[in-house]
Symmetry: C2
Subunit: 527 residues, 2 copies
């Protein structure tokens, strides 16, 4: 069937969904009904994860309406068009191929005169070989000493995803003997960022990864200079301490200023680049190529699940559908991501970019204004920390904020302590279980200050342990959820024109080519 790109509010199934009466969540989640929902409203995910949506404002009736919406919006067909190489990024006239970094989902995709799957695999193999040579001491610093640290220089998609993935696996790697090199990250153009990271580094034994697809990102090139100055001042040759991750056509490619260069292309958006060379170089150096390969396997397994046409068997699709229902019909403006895992401390920041930069749009893929709301604000912090912070508003504030919990049965390090007959890991898990029910059901109290209305929806992704494979599956779930939501809203989730105007004006400020308010602010900031 040919794919038709239609606005959400032109779909008959959306109109039908709007007419369905809403679910009384507090009542639905109480007693036997709640027990049955908690047991049955659950979908197996890749790598032993599961998606439980019992505490969402849905029932069989709403789910049936959402399934019709998925069908009419041709979500599966659109995903197939994407992974089979159609020009899905219409604004920039590009294919969207991040799935192909982790496996072949459909037909072979040819572009730029090459098979793209083969291209991505070739880069993975080149990175793996390079990392092995660094780890076994074939590639060393000027004195023949092993490199012990890796520092990524990048910003936005070249920073948030790889950083979140590194932090997610650092303690796992230390515990399982997979830690090859520690990793650090420099991103901000604030000179204190680079200065502080460099001060914490053993630069004699550090290898720096410069990540910029175009090779022209101002922040990143500025920070590269900062690092090169430090290397030179320390008596080191920058060309012996730096590699590049970039596109084949960038000035950083085949450049004698780098030990080596690894390639991505225009079909991998920055915020979807964790499974490309952008994540691959730093994660392979830090943890070894096998760990990165396992991460990709987990992501691919989740991608395969995302091909299911029935949303009740496709957690990313169902998550997307429920999110659109909450945003467009229930009218909720924000979503909180709450991992009960300290290792996922920066995962919400990565999803904040992935989601808000993809779907924070006011025009459809044809450049026409849409007359409905699109992407919500995404924010979050790890639990249980958040419980002692912003959960007050989530429980008793005047706005309802849908919640996405993530939890694991086992910790990564395995050290624990028993207090009051339970381990810390049990306390952590008990808290997330308790929160789901507290948010959904609430608790009446005659003192209205202690009254909880409930009716606050959440879902939870549960896994056994956060490992490279389950992390890959988790990441791919959210990438695919965002993609499906973009299809529903009929926006182009793969460009980001909204970041351009600020760049343009900043250049004017730096060139002192300003007047009016901009000149006043420039003076105020002493530029």
């Amino acid at each position: 069937m040919a794919v038709e790109w239609k606005n959400l509010d032109t779909l008959a199934s959306y109109e039908a969904l709007q007419k369905e009466s809403t679910v009384d969540l507090a009542s639905a989640m109480t007693g036997e009904s709640g027990e049955k929902r908690a047991k049955t409203y659950q979908i197996p995910m890749a790598e032993g994860l599961s998606y439980n949506y019992a505490a969402k404002c849905v029932d069989d009736r709403i789910l049936a309406a959402l399934a019709k919406l998925a069908e009419e919006a041709q979500l599966s067909e659109k995903f197939a068009a994407l992974y089979n190489g159609e020009v899905i990024n219409t604004g920039e006239k590009r294919l969207v191929l991040h799935h192909l970094c982790r496996g072949q989902l459909g037909e072979a995709v040819q572009a730029d005169g090459t098979d793209k799957r083969a291209f991505y695999v070739e880069q993975q193999e080149r990175i793996a070989a390079f990392a092995d040579r660094v780890h076994n001491g074939e590639i060393t610093n000027e004195k023949g000493e092993k490199f012990t640290e890796v520092v990524q220089i990048g910003i936005g998609g070249s920073d948030l995803g790889p950083r979140a993935m590194y932090l997610a696996l650092e303690n796992w790697a230390k515990t399982t003997g997979n830690m090859k090199m520690s990793a650090k990250f420099i991103s901000n153009v604030d000179p204190d960022d680079a200065a502080a990271v460099l001060a914490s580094c053993d630069i004699a034994h550090a290898i720096f990864i410069l990540v910029s697809k175009s090779g022209t990102t101002l922040e990143t090139l500025t920070n590269e200079s900062f690092v090169k100055d430090a290397l030179t001042k320390g008596g080191f040759d920058p060309a012996k301490h730096m590699i590049a991750v970039t596109s084949e056509t960038s000035p950083l490619a085949k450049n004698a200023g780098y030990l080596d260069a690894f390639y991505m292309d225009d079909y991998i958006g920055g915020r979807y680049s964790s499974s490309s060379a952008v994540g691959g170089a730093v994660l392979s150096l830090a943890f070894g190529p096998k760990v990165f390969a396992d991460f990709l396997c987990g992501a691919h397994e989740a991608d395969v699940t995302a091909k299911e046409t029935d949303p009740l068997k496709n957690p990313a699709m169902l998550d997307a559908l429920i999110g659109v229902y909450e945003r467009n019909i229930l009218g909720y403006g924000a979503t909180a991501v709450l991992p009960y895992s300290q290792a996922l401390s920066r995962f919400p920041a990565h999803l904040q970019q992935a989601d808000m930069e993809s779907n924070g749009k006011s025009v459809n893929r044809f450049g026409e204004p849409v007359s409905y709301v699109t992407g919500p604000v995404i924010f979050g912090e790890p639990g249980t920390n958040g419980q002692h912070s912003f959960y007050q508003l989530l429980h008793q504030g005047t706005d309802i904020v849908p919640l996405q919990f993530v939890g694991f049965r086992k910790s990564q390090i395995g050290s624990d302590v028993v207090i009051e007959n339970s381990t810390s890991q049990q306390k952590l898990c008990a808290n997330v279980a308790a929160q789901i029910v507290a948010f959904a059901c609430g608790k009446q109290d005659d003192n209205k200050n202690k009254d909880f209305k409930g009716g606050r929806p959440s879902s939870i992704i549960v896994g056994d342990q956060l490992t490279p494979a389950s992390l890959g599956a988790l990441l791919a779930h959210f990438e695919n959820k965002i993609m499906f939501q973009g299809f529903l809203w009929n926006v182009n989730s793969f460009d980001q024109e909204g970041v351009q105007l600020g760049k343009l004006l900043a250049k004017k400020v730096l060139a002192h080519d300003t007047d009016g308010a901009l000149k006043v602010y420039s003076d105020l900031l002493n530029i």
Copy 2:
């Protein structure tokens, strides 16, 4: 004049404000009008900071209406009642005295049979003396060796504020020779948090600060056990490595298990405790007592400014008024905090707690439901990082999100690099100046995908450099803004009943006293 606590929607000035037509921000900020606004819509703040609100949706007419609202809502009188010791925290029947930690704003406040200002000063002096003795080697580990690290164990208010303040000053302290001991923080009940921090510590030379007002916070006591186990296994005596910050009536007070204990009381809420012993102990140990004293001076100077009755001379009050106008009349649901300073990386997370936990309420201070929205969702990340992330939605999303920028003319470390004729610090400042105008004015484009509507409000706080004093002023500004907003919404900003239900249910889960959905989730998480 006697203070009357009234709901926002009962005030005649609020009704009048609702009737004012809204400002066309894009037009107001363009050309001469924009230049004039940028120059004049600015208020000096404490410690050389300034609050510029030119890019907010206000004009002289709206400002006059807001001033009337401030007067009718008796904001100044309510602040005076607070600092003069009335029971402002009605839910818990407590005074609210965090301002008194940093200076005397009004009358002497007697409570618990003592002058409270004298009590807080006494604790500061005791902490200063203790820190000096640690720094000069009078207090040492069992082997007579100096302590070199400090590790704070706390959660929520005992963690986020002190952590954000420490990170804000770490590079400043290293650069100015004020770094006495490095600090780390353990907060999450996730056992991987404590295990990872301990693995990164030199525990032989570490002093641990246990922070819990009640002495009964489960996460904190659990992490204390974790630390004590590690100390004992390492052959160290926990009682020689730990101090407590708690209330005088807690089980941690006057307890032989600690080297010493420093006191706070029930009149300091956790999220307002950075200027009490909770922030004082870790900051004085890390940077020396003089630095903490300077931080308090800056906060006090901001508190004094907050006493101004004219909102055009009182940045915290005006910020609060504009925020309520944006939330209740313009209907914006979230606010982003965007410091252009890597040192403020965790400042947004602290404000997220301070704001959302204070004003995320649905009942007024008498426990009656309110019929208007209260506290918004607060989120943020440092710029320029955010520009390459969620700014897409801020510029072109379907919802408008008001923005709070913060910027400094000078970096903390002072190392910099010139690329394309500008330093990194200049690039950083140029970007924030550019963003204000880009958000306000937008830019028309026939390609609607590249069109920026503008009309997106922001304000900026500008300072010369982030120092202990300016950080104190910045923190106090936001604390006072939140307080004034609580007065406007007529909520009790100083309790947090919304965190209780989750705690209660978590205990049931751990006691295996569950049924229905809660039991299913407990099983799913293997508790």
